[in-house]
Symmetry: C2
Subunit: 119 residues, 2 copies
């Protein structure tokens, strides 16, 4: 049963599982960019951070509110946040002494679209 | 703008971005399992293998047909394939001297569902 994934994705996202434009396979350069984003999701603490930020009523979370639920030191939390900002998954906004993090709109959707088979 | 992800996913998949069942965040044990799957996608050569397998007209690919398009030695290809089989993304079937690989039905969809915001 052949499986094909959605091709209508943003230009920043390469399709994972179908060849684009009749190419034989995902191009190496596209695969590099996509792999970097999945790498940002490959850590359980980073997934928990995304979960907390997403579930926040204000749709953003202060770095100061992440250490306790994750049972991690603030330098470790900041390290994980930096990786997700660099991967384009989280936005960072400094207000006063604290930084606040929110999901980059559409970033997770675009990544998911590279994996979803066509209906 | 709060973003929430789909909750109707298989029991093997933990939701990434919303708390399940009123919990404060993704549980540590769920995050571990999910992160392991994303880790299998965090390598460009593994994404290219998924692309080739998915695009194959027979919906499966012989290990013998992967070295050349990836420009990798067969031990390296086998290493990547083993990681994806262990992550539950690829099936492996030995026939004669060669092993053939196909996508595990629904595995990529389930993983994508953990990232997709609700409509």
């Amino acid at each position: 049963m052949p499986t094909q994934v959605a091709t209508h994705i943003s230009e920043a996202e390469a399709p994972c599982c179908v060849p684009a434009h009749g190419q034989d396979s995902l191009l190496a350069v596209e695969a590099e960019a996509l792999a970097a984003r999945f790498k940002a999701l490959s850590d359980p603490n980073r997934l928990r951070i995304l979960s907390i930020v997403s579930a926040s009523p204000e749709a953003e979370t202060c770095v100061c509110d992440l250490s306790e639920p994750l049972n991690l030191g603030q330098p470790t939390v900041s390290h994980h946040l930096k990786i997700m900002v660099e991967a384009g998954l989280l936005n960072r906004e400094k207000r006063g002494v604290w930084a606040y993090y929110s999901l980059v709109p559409g970033a997770l959707d675009s990544l998911a679209a590279t994996l979803i088979p066509k209906a």
